[in-house]
Symmetry: C2
Subunit: 383 residues, 2 copies
């Protein structure tokens, strides 16, 4: 475990919102930050060069998916995830906990970990706290996540309590394994506790007792209403240290990220930009827009006026709509490039606003404009 | 109609093989040339920048598809096909004849043209020789193709004869319409005649009597065995002028193109590079390879050793195979980039061999190596 100062440098606070820098083995990145998701060693449809061009500084990989395919042995022989997918910047990997409980067919949950069947070929596999850390070390992950149990929503308090205790026991084993491997990569703890505020607090305090390089809020965006999600985050943040990075996992819509930055969150990841692109939905400053339905057939302008992304600098709304209607792959790709850029750029603007002491005004203006345009409703219908 | 010298400059012959330059309103391109196919105003999965980077000099569009969607009115308002898809180089457009007879539901074939139903929304549309030329003028096509009737294979001699006569009458109307519009774009005639050598000759002679900027062999690659296809081409080429470009439509496999260059063909187009990519098949010097089945799981080398394409310069066989197995869009895209480059580069090498007087040796070596590796068999199974 590294000292707070080795991991995180707080540059400026504006209210609860923070601008900082996180240091990893593959270089540093500035926060607040949006991390594109490359679940299976690829951000869907996008090349590493394009990620660099759009200003992505850190991306995600998923331990579960890479353990299932191509497998750790291959990943090790190919020199780890960076070398395999040709990405030189920092990589954060999920531990596999979330996927084991949401994607795989679970065979048996034991104190040591989980026996599960691969969703690809049914092969019986095992992941526990020690295995998840060793897997992430083998992948060469710059920021490893602790192996956690992620309960569904809704969930009884009794189940939440038991799950939380196990997650804390697993978190301790993850820390021990980090030390045992001698890796210089960071390890973040993951807070759970569902919709119970006191359990959220207990979870964060338990993690702090163990001590991690950074802290995440997990078990959100698992089907609960947005209000419940925000309550879970509100119940967690005050108990996470000021001097280390804070990460809310699996979020979110641009407006959700802006509101969470206002609560003191530094790091975000979400599959939304590429997932909604596959449905022909583009992110805009007035909320998501269905490219198919929009009145763009003869529109020579870009998706978003003034946007600096590859797509908006080159192609018209009319062309993008044609590609989507004609089911041309290039359409999906151009919207993915735009959506990823939109999320990255939104958080870059948030950072500038914090650094320049105009967070309150900027965030209020962003949210008003975004929600006036319909907010995330249309996007959810499309997804 | 332009004079032969305004359209084509023959640089060098080596046997029947030719190296030359074709001049269009959007600049010149060197032959032999492979033209990537952008049916619906997009080469599948590939951006215009990537086409430029891989050295594509001229691409195809399809009048039928663009008439059906987004329609000529939109294409005209958007400034034509070049402006719409952001491609500054030459574009050749098919006339729609082939698609009307193969893709649309035909309602009525009349002397003036064909009433058909759009394969997209069933809308009743009409294309005839004059309409096809006017459509291609509206698209801004640099090389327009005459509107032809493309008979199926097999086909009775009687039907072939009637069809050929009609195609010649339509060809004449296309020429008249080219003059009437005052366009500076080129118009190529299309020879038909099926598998009947004397009809192929008659077709070519008929086209020459009308006079076109260049000449194509059509009605091949419509399901006939390769031997029949080569016979149809052999029966046509001797009757096409030496001083204008010769184009065989819709072909082909790399080995087929090399053999046809040896017969004096200058221009080729084919959907194969992107179509087989969608099945996970990569073009190599020893023939097509199934990425999924290849023994590449731990292979750090590129798809083709020494290949200068984007994919081979950056990514390993192991990674490409992983992407295909994991059904990641990036895999399809990277193989498409490689396959298109492979076809372009094969014809660039053919051109250099002709210019340097070593065509015989180069083509024999290419074909031996390609066919030793299994030729096009595996590819056809995959398609």
């Amino acid at each position: 475990m590294k000292s707070a100062g080795e991991v995180f440098r707080l540059e400026k606070s504006d209210g609860a919102a923070r601008a900082g820098v996180v240091q990893t083995a593959h270089g540093e990145f500035q926060t607040p930050v949006f991390m594109p998701v490359g679940t299976q060693a690829s951000v869907k449809g996008v090349s590493p060069d394009e990620l660099t061009e759009m200003g992505a500084k850190i991306i995600l990989g998923n331990t579960y998916h890479l353990v299932v395919r191509p497998g750790l042995e291959v990943m090790g022989q190919m020199g780890g995830l960076h070398q395999f997918m040709r990405w030189d910047g920092p990589i954060l990997t999920d531990s596999g906990g979330f996927q084991v409980f949401s994607l795989a067919k679970i065979r048996e949950v034991k104190e040591e970990g989980v026996w599960f069947s691969s969703h690809v070929d049914g092969k019986k596999l095992f992941l526990g706290p020690r295995e998840a850390v060793r897997a992430q070390v083998a992948l060469g992950s710059d920021i490893m996540m602790a192996f956690d149990e992620c309960p569904p929503w809704p969930c009884s308090r009794e189940v939440l309590e038991k799950s939380l205790e196990r997650t804390l026991r697993w978190a301790k084993l993850c820390r021990e394994e980090q030390e045992a491997t001698g890796t210089k990569n960071l390890l973040f703890g993951i807070g759970q506790g569902g919709d119970q505020a006191d359990l959220r607090q207990k979870s964060c305090e338990g993690l702090l007792n163990i001590g991690f390089d950074g802290y995440a809020v997990g078990g959100v965006s698992v089907g609960e209403p947005e209000r419940e999600m925000m309550k879970a985050i509100d119940a967690s943040i005050p108990f996470l240290p000021m001097d280390r990075p804070r990460y809310v996992m699996g979020l979110g819509h641009p407006d959700q990220m802006v509101r969470m930055i206002g609560k003191g969150v530094d790091m975000f990841d979400c599959v939304l930009p590429t997932r909604v692109a596959r449905n022909g939905t583009a992110c805009t400053v007035t909320g998501p827009t269905s490219v198919r339905k929009a009145n763009w057939t003869r529109d020579e302008g870009p998706i978003v006026e003034g946007c600096g992304c590859y797509t908006c600098l080159r192609f018209s709304r009319a062309y993008i709509q044609h590609l989507i209607k004609a089911e041309e792959l290039l359409g999906l790709r151009l919207i993915s490039l735009h959506n990823l850029y939109f999320n990255l750029e939104t958080l870059r603007q948030a950072r500038r606003a914090i650094l320049e002491g105009r967070w309150q005004g900027w965030s209020r203006e962003f949210l008003e404009r975004y929600q006036r345009g319909g907010g995330s409703k249309e996007e959810e219908e499309e997804t």
